[in-house]
């Protein structure tokens, strides 16, 4: 074994330049893969977290069918009690009740149709980042006060400031006329166009009175300590007899189908690019190893005439390739890690990215996330494909006939 190993190692350096060039192809693609995959993981994570934290949360409980077709009528009867039960089941989670509807908001000068959400002022900051994005004034604090928390573009369009009054007009759950006058408590700026332009929050109790909800609401929002606990929490809630019943337990993927699919679409184009890179490296290895076998045909003929089995020769070639691929792997991961580490602290951006990023709830700079998986995934696949590429030259040796081989010039 050690003999084969030493043989392989020496053979590798018989053509120093060729070995380094082939290893360089591996290093190049490994560095690129480490960086790209880390950047991808980092931006997906940020996209998911920013989107979920903004409003939707990790899990929501809603009436069946509400997610596809949000109607005021399709409400949870006693939303606060449901929220309380959820809180008992999931002691580590932040849980808040909400109700939502649509109304015409008028200031003295302007009128706009807006989305209204009734929230629990003390609970909402735990499930949503919106209350923390106050630009003027403050978030709601009294569950019954006729106050409103509105987006910055909406405030500008309505020409209102903190302390001004807005008239709300809509229709209640029972079909009655819903009308109220509220004072602007605060103005938020989220950077998300739709949110800033046509979205406002009211205290839940006030919302329920305004829309004749009779204590009802539309969703219970759950925010967990981290994304990987979602599946377990969903199972817990689905198995809770006093919760599930007529309610749907929806995880973040069901709540934001666009988010999941955008990531999938992006991933599939990324995988295509990675696959091409890997195939090109494999070609490079195939060529090198094939050459190295062919130029040694005579040598191999002599060795096998001395009684070495062809299988051992094939193993030798595979071992040589493994050693070369290991060099490519180690240096690739190391250099890739260095580069990624730099961008992990400094942030990565390219021209035009800011306009682009805000649409996906991303900041102007992206930070690649370094995990063992993101470091090793790409290079490991490269490693495997390099070995596969060496199979053809190695298997050719199995058919080696010593006499013919020794005659080769």
């Amino acid at each position: 074994m050690t003999l084969t190993f030493r043989l392989a190692w020496r053979n590798l350096w018989r053509h120093r330049r060729r070995t380094w060039l082939t290893a360089s192809a591996m290093i190049f693609s490994n560095v690129l893969l480490v960086f790209m995959i880390s950047l991808q993981f980092g931006s997906y994570e940020m996209m998911i977290n920013n989107t979920l934290r903004a409003f939707s949360g990790h899990i929501q409980l809603q009436m069946a069918g509400y997610n596809e077709n949000p109607k005021l009528r399709n409400s949870i009867a006693d939303v606060r009690t449901v929220a309380k039960r959820v809180r008992e089941r999931l002691p580590n989670a932040q849980v808040a009740a909400r109700a939502s509807g649509f109304a015409l908001a008028s200031s003295e000068e302007r009128t706009f149709g807006i989305q209204l959400v009734g929230v629990e002022p003390d609970r909402e900051p735990g499930v949503s980042s919106l209350p923390g994005l106050v630009r003027d004034g403050r978030f709601l604090d009294d569950p019954t006060a006729p106050e409103i928390f509105i987006g910055s573009t909406l405030a500008r369009n309505l020409k209102v400031a903190v302390g001004d009054e807005i008239t709300l007009l809509g229709s209640g759950r029972d079909g009655s006329f819903a009308a109220g006058i509220v004072t602007v408590a605060g103005i938020f700026e989220s950077g998300m166009q739709d949110m800033d332009r046509s979205f406002a929050e009211l205290p839940l109790t006030y919302f329920q009175d305004l829309f004749a909800m009779d204590g009802g609401g539309h969703s219970v929002v759950v925010m967990l300590p981290s994304l990987d606990r979602v599946a377990a929490a969903v199972t817990t809630l689905r198995n809770a007899p006093d919760i599930d019943g007529p309610l749907d337990v929806l995880d973040w993927e069901a709540l934001n189908p666009g988010l999941k699919q955008a990531i999938q679409a992006d991933m599939s184009s990324a995988w295509f690019m990675y696959a091409v890179l890997i195939v090109l490296v494999a070609f490079s290895v195939l060529n090198t190893q094939l050459m190295s076998v062919m130029e040694r045909t005579r040598e191999f003929g002599v060795i096998s005439a001395l009684g070495v089995r062809p299988r051992r020769l094939a193993g030798l070639i595979l071992l040589e390739t493994t050693l070369m691929a290991l060099i490519g792997f180690a240096l690739g991961v190391f250099l890739g890690w260095l580069i990624t580490l730099y961008f992990n602290t400094a942030g990565f951006s390219y021209p035009g990215m800011e306009d682009f990023a805000s649409r996906f709830n991303l900041p102007g700079k992206m930070y690649p996330s370094i995990t063992p998986l993101s470091l090793v995934l790409g290079p490991a696949v490269v490693f495997v494909f390099c070995l596969l590429a060496a199979l053809y030259p190695a298997l050719r040796l199995l058919r080696l006939r010593p006499v013919d081989a020794m005659r080769t010039a």
């Binding site: 302007r110 500008r156 699919q261 679409a265 091409v276 090109l280 070609f283």
Partner: protein, 414 residues
């Protein structure tokens, strides 16, 4: 052709061609690698280009127009107060220029639409149906009923998704409320006469079309309009059109190109142009290691031969040229294969690649769920040029080494 030393270029080329096929298997593998690389460059670029082109085209149709004219305050505060007068004769005359494809003027105000079941916030468009079709509305998108037939049409055309949300139907009545000048609430009942579909559901939920005169009468706003939309012929080069509209519209109006009206679309196009180049260069770099390696091997095993040739009087320059020609032939052949492969794989997709599995994700990007690859001559040229030029540059090293051996040493080598 003195470049070939003493041999004519034709003879050198023949020599290079034969040398190329001395090791068939090696050459074939390298050809395959170059072809795969070229295929990936062109195919991927065609897919991405197709997606972005369509996004931009759909985005411009939805704006609509390459250039829009507004009251300076309108974009901040889209109220009918911030409106323009109906374009005058001078403006009309300026819009007869050959680089203007079409133009139209429209009223565009935020409004609330109510059916018997539900209410929604929408954008009410008061349009001249003929002009609207000329700047981008496709009458084939009407899936039920009809499009408006005149600016005075009293009917309403709504999106498929909105109709569903409102739980109403073709022929039913809906009420539209909006704001007239002086903050008066203006409302009017409309009958839904047509339903349209759009690439993006968000658009179907946002825009409702009514006759321009009808909307003006409802808002009691005289013949005031909110915007003028102008289309040209080349959205990538919108500056001349912008200049023309700007000088025709005068200083009191805000005139902006689509890249500023929708910065996401504008940046998308720029990012895409950058991406194409980066992608092509990255693929080339992955190829270049193999290319240098192959040539190095080809040179290395022929050192004796090169020495002999020099001893027989061939100049080093001729040897350099011979290796470069060999590389050029390899590259050109690989590219030819790659190009054919790319064209062959784009061709079956000409009727569109269905991505509806990730349709909502594509909508997030602002893209449609059917992708039409766009094989642009420019991209094709760029990919081929990059491979040839950088490929020759990379081959300079092995070629130069081949020409530098001293004949005596080279022959003495075994």
């Amino acid at each position: 052709m003195g470049a070939g030393g003493q041999l004519p270029l034709g003879a050198l080329a023949r020599l290079a061609w034969r040398n190329l096929w001395r090791n068939r298997r090696r050459t074939a593998i390298m050809l395959l690698a170059i072809a795969t690389g070229a295929w990936a460059m062109i195919f991927m670029t065609a897919l991405m280009r197709g997606m972005v082109d369509q996004m931009v085209a759909d985005g411009i149709d939805a704006l609509p127009g390459y250039v829009q004219v507004h009251h300076p305050q309108y974009r901040d505060d889209p109220n009918i107060e911030n409106s323009l007068a109906q374009p005058d004769a001078a403006f009309r005359a300026a819009m007869a220029a050959p680089d203007v494809q079409a133009w139209t003027s429209r009223v565009r105000v935020p409004a609330m639409i109510s059916s018997a079941r539900d209410s929604r916030g929408v954008t009410l468009l008061g349009v001249d149906p003929q002009g609207e079709i000329e700047v981008g509305f496709d009458p084939a998108d009407i899936v039920a009923g009809r499009f408006l037939d005149s600016p005075g049409d009293g009917g309403l055309v709504v999106g498929r998704k909105l109709l569903e949300r409102l739980e109403t139907d073709l022929g039913k009545r809906v009420v539209i409320m909006s704001q007239g000048p002086d903050n008066t609430v203006a409302d009017r009942g409309f009958r839904v006469v047509g339903v349209y579909k759009a690439q993006l559901e968000a658009l179907e939920e946002t825009f409702v079309y009514a006759g321009r005169d009808t909307v003006q009468a409802m808002l009691e706003s005289g013949d005031r309009i909110s915007e003028i939309a102008v289309t040209g012929y080349d959205y990538r080069n919108v500056a001349p059109l912008l200049e023309r509209v700007r000088s025709a519209a005068g200083d009191h109006a805000e005139v902006l190109p689509w890249t500023e009206l929708d910065p996401y679309l504008g940046s998308m196009m720029k990012v895409m142009d950058g991406f194409v180049l980066v992608w092509i260069v990255v693929i080339f770099m992955a190829l270049s290691f193999g290319l240098v390696n192959t040539l190095m091997m080809a040179v290395f095993e022929r050192i004796r031969e090169f020495g002999l040739m020099q001893a027989l009087g061939m100049k080093p320059a001729a040897i350099l040229w011979q290796v470069l020609l060999e590389s050029l032939m390899l590259l050109a052949l690989g590219l030819l294969l790659g190009n054919l492969l790319a064209i062959a794989s784009v061709w079956p997709l000409r009727d569109g690649l269905d991505l509806s599995i990730v349709g909502q994700g594509m909508e997030w990007f602002g893209a449609a769920s059917v992708l039409y690859p766009a094989l642009k001559p420019n991209d094709l040229l760029l990919a081929n040029a990059v491979v040839i030029v950088l490929g020759i540059l990379t081959s300079l090293l092995p070629a130069w080494r081949a020409s530098r051996y001293r004949p005596v040493d080279a022959i003495a080598r075994t």
